[in-house]
């Protein structure tokens, strides 16, 4: 195991984050504050509580997941795409690094950044709403697993993308709609029954539901199903990455 390589990639990627703190941390936090102001305060005050949870508190897990999922995809895809774009990827390909080590470095850094942003949003949310977390350890575990899972997806996207347009295509047109329609701002139970069935095919719904369960003890689907969904996604994404490295798809000629 080339631990020095994992560390080198991880440190390098984290250093890039701290070189651009406004983009890395301030931007998602400001976006989230705006969501709180609009959905939590302005609209939220007119919304009925969901169960015994106020609407303002209800959207906190969804907002965190929304940011963690989109940030994970963006961080990991950019992390691996940028060396491809610049041509510096030659060094990774000529180094004694296994695919696993490369994934560990890039995905580890991307997931770390997303989790840090998630914590910042959680801290900010305490300024706006009264909040309780019933299962702190599980919430933390779920957050890490989701960040890891979507960072894997971002890594695949970065390997696949041939240009910046493709790099932005998936987060904008696929990930964001899935997360928005996965119950970030509402309970699936609030939808008409037909749309509830459609939502069952939205993978983001299982993750948001599981994370919300860790906060309030209530969820759209059983927590076990949410965990299983995370594991399935992680397994699927790891399999795709293994295939890419085995075949050299868009990496080696």
């Amino acid at each position: 195991m080339n631990l020095y390589a994992i560390k080198a990639i991880y440190v390098f990627e984290m250093a890039r984050t701290f070189r651009t703190p406004l983009q890395s941390f301030a931007s998602p936090v400001i976006s989230t504050i705006l969501y709180f102001v609009v959905f939590g305060s302005a609209i939220g005050n007119r919304m009925l509580p969901i169960g015994d949870v106020s609407y303002g508190a209800f959207i906190v897990p969804g907002l965190i997941m929304l940011t963690v999922m989109t940030q994970s995809v963006a961080n990991a895809s950019f992390g691996i795409y940028f060396p491809k774009f610049l041509g510096t990827i030659y060094e990774h390909l000529s180094a004694p690094i296994s695919p696993f080590e490369m994934v560990a470095g890039y995905v580890g850094a991307a997931a770390t950044k997303s989790v840090v942003v998630g914590f910042i949003i959680l801290a900010v949310s305490f300024l706006f709403v009264s909040l309780r977390i019933e299962h702190v350890v599980l919430a933390f575990l779920f957050l890490i697993m989701t960040a890891f899972c979507f960072s894997l997806l971002g890594f695949i996207l970065g390997l696949w993308a041939k240009n910046f347009e493709q790099l932005n295509f998936v987060p904008t047109l696929i990930i964001t709609p899935l997360v928005f329609l996965g119950g970030s701002f509402y309970s699936i139970d609030m939808l008409p029954s037909a749309w509830q069935v459609v939502s069952m095919f939205n993978p983001a719904m299982y993750l948001i539901s599981g994370f919300r369960w860790a906060f309030f003890g209530v969820s759209e689907v059983p927590i076990q199903v949410s965990f299983l969904a995370v594991m399935l996604f992680a397994g699927l994404f790891l399999g795709i990455i293994a295939y890419i490295f085995k075949t050299g798809y868009r990496l080696r000629n």
């Binding site: 080339n2 610049l86 041509g87 030659y90 060094e91 990774h92 180094a95 004694p96 050299g248 000629n253």
Partner: protein, 309 residues
């Protein structure tokens, strides 16, 4: 000298069926500087890319220090440093940051003293905290070399190392490469500058259309394939060439004012003495005599032209 790299019957065929390397075999000796010469698209960079792991091979084997580059990729790659042709560097990263990354990627523990020594040798120590984007082209080239040397490789590949650099830097690079050789590093370089190969290489490999045309010691190559030309400027032009001189292979040029005699560098039986005696016996007055030797460039062009025909 033992072979540190063995390329055996390597073929590289791309998806569009274009053959970049065709059953190519070559040995590279430990501690030598070998220059790969060839026209654009000859397969030089493809060969380097395969050995370094950037490109997969279609058939054949490559061994680095006895290690198969596919089966034993970790050990094999850890012995190799690569300086690419393009100035591919992260513009916002610092010199120290990017060189430190390189050492880590190759699985080596941090060694600030070594990095300092490498940067000092390449006159980059003062720029260690500078972002790459603020460096000149020559400095960026040196950063790439520093990155390649950061994990103390046994073999260094330099793909067009002096492309686009000024004369002073080019000579600095040559000095650096010779110093690396002195420390036991094997250097494989591709170059378009024949002068560069002539200056620093121990051996020359000529590649064209994915095949090795020859691999030869530079000095042997120059002697074997190099040609010399004897030019004799005459005091008065000749209306015709005397038979005695014609029989010796002399030609008359420049409106009868110059005698030309071509001969091989390694021929000990050149007819120069006979020619001079014949000129004397023909009572031809000479103004000046000089010789020219064909350069490696002339030899290279001749080889490639012959190969293409």
């Amino acid at each position: 000298m033992s072979s540190v790299i063995k390329v055996r019957n390597v073929t590289k065929k791309y998806a569009d069926e274009k053959v970049a390397l065709a059953d190519l075999s070559v040995d590279i000796s430990s501690g030598e500087i070998i220059a790969l010469l060839g026209p654009n698209g000859a397969g030089k960079t493809t060969l380097i890319s395969i050995i370094c792991g950037l490109t997969t091979l279609t058939a054949g084997n490559v061994f680095v220090d006895g290690l198969d580059i596919e089966a034993d990729y970790r050990e094999a790659r850890s012995l190799i440093g690569l300086v690419p042709q393009e100035l591919v560097l992260e513009p916002f990263e610092t010199v120290m940051g990017t060189v430190t990354l390189s050492r880590g990627l190759f699985g080596r523990s941090p060694n600030p003293e070594l990095i300092k020594s490498i940067l000092e040798n390449l006159s980059l120590w003062d720029k260690r905290a500078s972002p790459i984007r603020e460096l000149s082209g020559g400095m960026k080239r040196r950063v790439l070399i520093a990155k390649a040397l950061s994990h103390e490789p046994k073999i260094l590949f330099l793909d067009e190392p002096t492309a686009g650099v000024d004369v002073d830097l080019r000579r600095d690079m040559w000095r650096l490469i010779k110093n690396l050789k002195a420390t036991g590093v094997t250097v494989v370089l591709t170059t378009h500058y024949i002068e560069e190969a002539e200056e620093i290489a121990d051996r020359i490999a000529v590649i064209d259309k994915g095949r090795i045309l020859l691999v030869e010691e530079k000095t042997v190559l120059m002697e074997r394939l190099g040609k010399k030309q004897l030019s004799i400027d005459l005091d008065k032009p000749l209306s015709g060439l005397p038979t005695t001189l014609m029989d010796l292979g002399i030609t008359l040029e420049n409106d009868g004012k110059k005698l030309i005699y071509n001969y091989n560098v390694d021929l000990s039986d050149s007819k120069i003495s006979e020619i001079l005696l014949a000129i004397r016996s023909e009572q031809i007055q000479i103004n000046d005599v000089h010789t020219e030797q064909s350069s490696l460039e002339d030899i290279f062009i001749e080889l490639v032209t012959e190969g293409q025909s």
